[in-house]
């Protein structure tokens, strides 16, 4: 009898604590209420409805019956699923190779500049202002295969053979990632730059006194100081690139032969090309779960590294 009574006591204590918290900041809570409601309606409700929908048989967006795990079985047994999964990881891998470190390097260089700083900041940020579809189309024209393609004409000037660019299944994903990195480069650089400008100058002075060279300063002062932002952008990049869809859709439609199809593009195909919303939701939930696992694993690893 002792244990239930203690549990009830804890619950009551918690309730009164929550009550006290609300009463003591009543005005703040009331002002926060619209935002909380909107957050629930706009963010959480669609996620929950999506998860519930993935277990239903649907006609359009209307659930007409409980399907259990049928949608998941259908999606996971689709021969395109494994290709899309592999490709999505490939997008993430190439995005880390091509797009993760250059913004850090450029931010460090920008931070050291004395003249023309604003001009370079604007130039670097400019591609970010180009909408995703427009950027994809610009690169789509540059990557035209055949001798009339702009990049192929450049290759021709040096006597090099024309490339198939996006039509080459081995190049498709790296090239799409390159266009994404080109577009996202500016905002990451500006974030790193902001972080760098917050680094205490005395740390560099102290390092100089201790005889540190440029690379030692970067390694022992700069990187530890901006590691928080680097971690944030690392996770953000994985989550963002894992949801890639617009770029392959506009540039290759997932081709050639699904060489660039991603999980989200396959999900789009289910929903809008085949009108199979239930399967689309199931695939989205699978993607969501993979992302949660990746994020948790990353934070756990990072915590262990920090502790050591």
């Amino acid at each position: 009898m002792e244990r239930p009574r203690r549990a009830a006591g804890v619950r009551e204590q918690r309730r009164s604590h929550v009550g006290r918290l609300v009463r003591s900041n009543f005005s703040a809570w009331v002002l926060l209420l619209p935002s909380i409601l909107l957050f629930i309606i706009v963010m959480w409700r669609p996620i929950l409805v999506g998860i519930v929908g993935s277990f239903c048989q649907m006609d359009g967006y209307t659930a007409v019956g409980f399907a259990g795990l049928d949608n998941y079985k259908a999606v996971l047994s689709d021969t395109t699923f494994l290709t899309a999964l592999k490709n999505t990881f490939s997008y993430v891998f190439w995005s880390l190779v091509i797009g993760y470190l250059p913004p850090v390097i450029f931010a460090v260089m920008l931070n050291e500049l004395v003249h023309w700083k604003s001009f370079f900041k604007f130039s670097i940020y400019f591609p970010t202002m180009v909408p995703a579809v427009a950027a994809s189309l610009i690169w789509y024209f540059l990557f035209q295969p055949g001798e009339g393609g702009i990049l192929n004409m450049f290759l021709g000037l040096f006597g090099l053979p024309s490339s198939q660019w996006l039509q080459n299944p081995n190049l498709t994903i790296p090239l799409i990632v390159f266009t994404m990195a080109w577009r996202g480069f500016g905002s990451s650089t500006i974030m790193y730059l902001a972080s760098l400008q917050g680094v205490n100058g005395e740390l560099y002075e102290a390092a100089t006194v201790d005889g540190a060279g440029m690379f030692s300063k970067i390694r022992h002062v700069t990187l530890p100081q901006i590691s928080g932002v680097m971690l944030l952008l690392f996770v953000k990049q994985i989550i963002g690139v894992f949801q890639v869809m617009v770029e392959p859709m506009t540039m290759t439609d997932g081709g050639p032969n699904n060489a660039s199809i991603s999980l989200n593009l396959q999900s789009y195909n289910y929903a809008f090309n085949y009108f199979q919303v239930d399967k689309s939701l199931a695939l989205s939930v699978v993607t969501f779960l993979i992302l949660i696992v990746l994020t948790v694993v990353y934070f756990k690893l990072n915590k262990r590294v920090s502790e050591n």
């Binding site: 619209p34 409601l37 055949g146 198939q164 090309n273």
Partner: protein, 458 residues
């Protein structure tokens, strides 16, 4: 206390500020909306004026109805959210390729009663009506139908010396002749002789037509179960023909990961000489790329070993599933006033005259058409009479396309059509980018995938 009351008031204000309010006004009339209404900023001013004229005539004749203009036009990515949210226009139009998806999802109203009452079932082409029928009920009005044909760019044909002494093309009659003609054009002009799309399902869409002509079948119902059968020697021969266009004849456009819109662009700008398309997209060459309308010729699809097959397509009107019977009645009255009804009346004739006149004034191509939706000879004559004064192209350039002799008109494959097209897109992408690809192996794999992923789950 005052502080708390102020906070509550502020919160309520914020909620209303964000959510906003809309107080609808009630009327006694029956309101319905008409989709695809020409936009005011549209270059097509004539179409806008024409719709305004229809509206004036409708309001005079049927004061009990209120028509709302809806500028939304069918689009794959916005249809589903609009339909699910009950936001579709009462009357909307779409393509034949979308009919089964929409009726299966329950987003079209059963309009059998109105189709019967207003005379559509008695006067419409039964083959077309079959496309909108499901379990004995009708879900749409197939008002515009066409078949696939070949487009020819006259400038490039002239440059390549492919015109006869009267200035008309020497049309290819077989697939082999088509490939050879495309090759001659490529060699003499340096421009692509033929266009083949491979994305957005459009490669598969066109490939089915080519493969039928080679004798291929795609889906067969065996004891109530659907089987994928497009890895036959005939289908392989068809795929080999397409592959040869790239690697033997070298006549295709450089980029093969493209869809029909790229064809319209390349064709209109004299970058491609021949391609497969329909009359429906002809106006895009003029409106989007200012192509000279006299620079286009059309001919029927070539003959293959199994015959001269052509795929039928077209536009269909549908009524939103949440429409009431009264609204559906309003829609049918609207169709009558706007010239899409089955009756032979002066009003119908006038509406058709206005349509062709407006298209002519816009510089669009008026003349070529394909399959008529009507079987009633008087209704057919009405349309032809309305069009005759406004024909603005040399109809001899479209004579072969309008001649249906020897053509086998085939509807789309019956099951998982979009999925089939997507599967075939993948096959074509490999066949046209990898010179070492094996058509038989590609189709074997595609058949296995299509069977497992789609047909077995039916």
């Amino acid at each position: 206390m005052m502080k708390k009351v102020t906070a509550v008031i502020l919160a309520v204000c914020m909620m209303f500020g964000i959510v906003g309010c809309d107080s609808g006004t009630g009327t006694d009339t029956i309101t319905f909306s008409v989709g695809n209404w020409p936009k005011e900023h549209d270059t097509n001013k004539a179409a806008m004026e024409r719709y305004e004229n229809y509206l004036t005539a409708f309001n005079e004749k049927y004061p009990g109805y209120t028509v709302e203009k809806d500028y939304w036009a069918y689009d794959v990515s916005s249809f589903l959210p609009k339909a699910a949210g009950g936001q579709l226009p009462t009357l909307y139009n779409t393509f034949f390729t979308e009919i089964s998806k929409i009726t299966d999802a329950g987003y079209a109203k059963d309009i059998t009663k109105q189709m019967e009452e207003y005379g559509y079932l008695d006067n419409m082409n039964p083959d077309l009506l079959e496309l909108v029928e499901k379990d004995g009920k009708y879900y749409g009005i197939p008002y515009n139908a066409y078949v696939f044909g070949l487009w020819f760019n006259m400038d490039l044909l002239r440059e390549a010396g492919e015109l006869d002494e009267n200035g008309y093309p020497n049309y290819p009659e077989t697939y082999e002749e088509l490939a050879q003609m495309a090759q001659r054009i490529k060699q003499k002009t340096g421009k692509a002789g033929f266009f083949m799309p491979t994305t957005k399902g459009q490669g598969g869409w066109q490939f089915t037509n080519i493969a039928w002509a080679f004798g291929a079948k795609f889906e067969e119902n065996v004891d109530g179960e659907w089987k994928a059968v497009f890895n036959s020697p005939e289908a392989v021969a068809a795929l080999q023909w397409v592959k040869d266009l790239k690697f033997k004849y070298d006549v295709l456009q450089d980029n093969v990961l493209v869809d029909e819109s790229e064809f319209i662009k390349l064709f209109s700008t004299n970058q491609v000489a021949i391609g497969i398309d329909t009359t429906m997209r002809l106006k895009n060459t003029v409106s989007d790329y200012k192509m000279n309308k006299d620079n286009i010729a059309m001919y029927k699809m070539p003959e293959g070993p199994a015959g001269r097959y052509t795929l039928t397509g077209g536009n269909v009107y549908m009524v939103a599933a949440n429409a009431t019977d009264e609204q559906a009645d309003g829609v049918f009255k609207w169709l009558e006033v706007s010239g899409s009804g089955p009756d032979v009346t002066e009003e119908q004739k006038q509406a058709n005259i206005e349509r062709y006149k407006a298209e002519n004034e816009q510089g669009y191509i008026v003349g070529p058409s394909a399959i008529s939706s009507w079987t009633n000879p008087e209704r057919l004559a009405l349309e032809e009479e309305a069009k005759a004064p406004y024909i603005n192209v040399d109809m001899k350039l479209f004579e072969g396309y309008n001649d249906f002799s020897g053509l086998i008109i085939q509807p789309e494959e019956p099951v998982c059509t979009q999925e089939l097209y997507k599967t075939l897109d993948n096959v074509l992408q490999v066949a046209l980018t990898d010179p070492n690809s094996d058509p038989q192996a590609l189709l074997d794999q595609a058949v296995a995938d299509f069977q497992t992923n789609y047909l077995d789950k039916q």
